[in-house]
Subunit: 249 residues, 2 copies
């Protein structure tokens, strides 16, 4: 069985940003980088802070520099389902839309490299490559959402947990490249509750399945928030499919 490469393609750095903005990648002309550089500023959100309320004006537009943010929808009776996960280099904001139908919440301390909205939109209009890049990113998000639907609709609790670990491992490796021998080590940027919202499970089931993967030797729990994976391929096999494991590119 062939597996997708662990490390994602790189994106060009925007000026002195501590991350690689996906919105300005190799497809864009270098001059655009300087233009983006001129209209950006940084903004920080605390863990638990809501960055965007569902239905209200979206006043953030930029890239996640550090930390993790979640997109989630809530039913009137309180049931919650996470519908998106924003990790460093992911884009925040909806080009051409005033509002979003979901909450954006900081899972831990989040720094965002923010562009001023009117200036960014002016830049987009005058830069076809940038607009095409936004379409490309949105298609990637759509693919990720559809992979996620397969997970929610048809995978077992154990497969769901393994799939989530694969996604986090890939994203972590793409940013930090902390391989240990032929294994991996990474931090879980989400609480058990956030994981349960992601996977359509309860906290208890998440906890039990993580314990089960530990007992099977697939993962080693250093503490509740740090995981070692001795054999990455074994974890991939637990995830139940041979695709890229729902990598949100």
């Amino acid at each position: 069985m062939k597996h997708a490469p662990l490390i994602a393609k790189n994106h060009m750095r925007c000026g002195d940003c501590p991350i690689r903005h996906k919105a300005v990648c190799a497809y864009c002309e270098p001059p655009e980088l300087a233009k983006l550089d001129a209209i950006k500023s940084y903004r920080t959100f605390q863990a638990g802070e809501t960055i965007v309320w569902a239905g209200e004006e979206v006043d953030v537009l930029g890239s996640v520099v550090s930390g993790v943010a979640t997109l989630s929808r809530t039913l009137p009776d309180g049931r919650r389902q996470m519908v998106g996960l924003l990790l460093p280099s992911d884009f925040v904001g909806r080009p051409g839309r005033r509002t979003a139908p979901y909450d954006v919440v900081a899972a831990n301390e989040v720094m965002i490299c923010q562009f001023t909205k009117p200036q960014f939109e002016k830049l987009v209009s005058s830069t076809p490559a940038l607009e095409r890049r936004l379409l490309d990113m949105t298609l990637d998000e759509l693919d990720a959402a559809r992979e996620w639907m397969l997970l929610l609709g048809r995978k077992t609790a154990r497969e769901k947990i393994a799939s989530l670990l694969v996604i986090i491992a890939r994203r972590d490796a793409a940013l930090n490249s902390t391989t240990v021998g032929n294994g991996l080590r990474f931090a879980l940027p989400l609480t058990r509750e956030a994981m349960s919202d992601y996977l359509g499970l309860t906290i208890e089931t998440v906890s039990r399945q993580i314990s089960a993967l530990k007992k099977s030797g697939i993962i080693v729990l250093e503490d509740a928030r740090h995981v070692r994976v001795p054999d990455y391929v074994a974890l991939l096999d637990e995830a139940g499919d041979d695709s890229d494991g729902g990598f949100i590119s």
Copy 2:
């Protein structure tokens, strides 16, 4: 509780097409309609025929004129999850992508108004309004996918069925406007099996929940494929949330 309007916004007709293409809507300049008109042709697929195989070259690009097509992903062991539903006026094809990670299958006889790929892509490059429209449509699909994730992750079987009926009712009403008093009547364009793939359930559960909704008086089954809804708001309430019910606009 306020509910979204039943009928979707209209889209401008492209020449003599029997449907309203979403790709060429009121946002686009009228001259573009004529240009699209010049590069189109019609193509028909039989029920059950695969229009696009997962991973293979996508050689279709256009709009669904009639019939219903489904997008679905399959796990190696055969478990299947539908990840998209294409009804008349929906766009088929992925701008700027060679392949798709899912199968596109005709649920019944499907007619597609197809554009020649290189010419359509040339038109898109030279028409910023069209490119922006494609981005807008992709964002709509993303919103629909996320609504669907909420359904798959957190709704009960009964709520799932009611939500699907709402989606079909809305789409049907937008196209045919067949209201009956303050109720509705429409055909189910999907088999029970396709519904179960859509909702992450088994055929048996779909059948049982439809029977249950019938017994509750929420719906009337004229036969296995035709439904009457005496009270649309009652059905909406069964769907479990006050949103637009996952309307794929």
